[in-house]
Symmetry: C2
Subunit: 187 residues, 2 copies
Amino acid sequence: MARKKQYNETEVIDKAMRLFWRNGYESTSVRMLEKEMGINQFSIYASFKNKEGVFLESIKLYNTQIKAITNTLEKSNNGVEGIKEYFLDFLDFSREGAIFKGCLVTNTVNEIKEDSSPVIMAALKRFSANIRELFVRNLKQDDSRDVKEIEAQADYLMNALLGLSISSKVFKEEQLKGIIKITFLHL
Amino acid sequence: MARKKQYNETEVIDKAMRLFWRNGYESTSVRMLEKEMGINQFSIYASFKNKEGVFLESIKLYNTQIKAITNTLEKSNNGVEGIKEYFLDFLDFSREGAIFKGCLVTNTVNEIKEDSSPVIMAALKRFSANIRELFVRNLKQDDSRDVKEIEAQADYLMNALLGLSISSKVFKEEQLKGIIKITFLHL
DNA sequence: TCAATAACTAAGCGTTTGCTTAGATTTAAC
DNA sequence: GTTAAATCTAAGCAAACGCTTAGTTATTGA
């Protein structure tokens, strides 16, 4: 047949993902991806169709990597306490040395315009909905809540998590810990 | 002397601000500003130096417009209840018809990279710090809190407000109302 | 009325964007 | 060893980016 690829697709996507994460979608150019991924533009387009394709694969990878955290949430029966753990684990996950990069998905939701990249937007919404469902599931483990209350609390927690994605870039770590603490005080 | 400007600077900045608000900083081009502001590129650069200058003026205007809300907060002695009012007023302020645009400042904080536009970043941080100080001031009106607790609560509220800027683009209005309600339950 | 001055329009500068093409190189089956 | 296919590199495309320049038009005070 023919030649083999000289790079591992998952490996180069991991590098692309981290670049998007640090840098945002729009302001990450294909030239930057080229350097970071260590492969030629042609190879990028051959493997992933276009820049959007690289990003969609990056989200997939991000999702599987964050699964390590959501899995412990999914399998735990710790209710609210489990969600709080998730918040703290997320902070750790989003850290690169001393700086926090926020959540890749949240960053992009805030950046992308619906009509400029509907495919990306759909992927982002799917991701967020999954997290919210996990929150609902865990909140249900406490029988004292009714369904309407649970839905509202899940929204509240999503709001706090989205906020944390931004706050983590601005506030000090101690402040972030304080925010999380207060967030769960009355749940 | 010479010719008069055929446009009012505040008026064209108002139009620019709304475009940045809807569209973000980076992805708003000078050509788009030209159309929206209704004046030629040359006039933009003559009046505001560069794109960054237009944006800085936009933030100033945004600040004076939001002052209408913060003033009632500043002058009120309603403590926590006053802050809650601010949250609701902010939602109204950020609405354009049926859609929510979030907070111009929050949107940009999330988009801009520190080293690409330090001037803008400084302006944004100043803005956020002001809001936080207002929260601190109002929380102090309730004597039952100590200083450390107040600082932490102000961070918590900032986190919720930042979250709301994103949530408002994704959630329905009823959900947003629910989020605000729960946010203030234990303060 | 007329020179001075500032605001206007429109064209275009160099650079960067996402993406493609052309051609050389490597691999694998026969 | 030859051929065919998929990979690679490198150059270059049109379009859009922020910004500038050249030249015209309008408004002012003397």
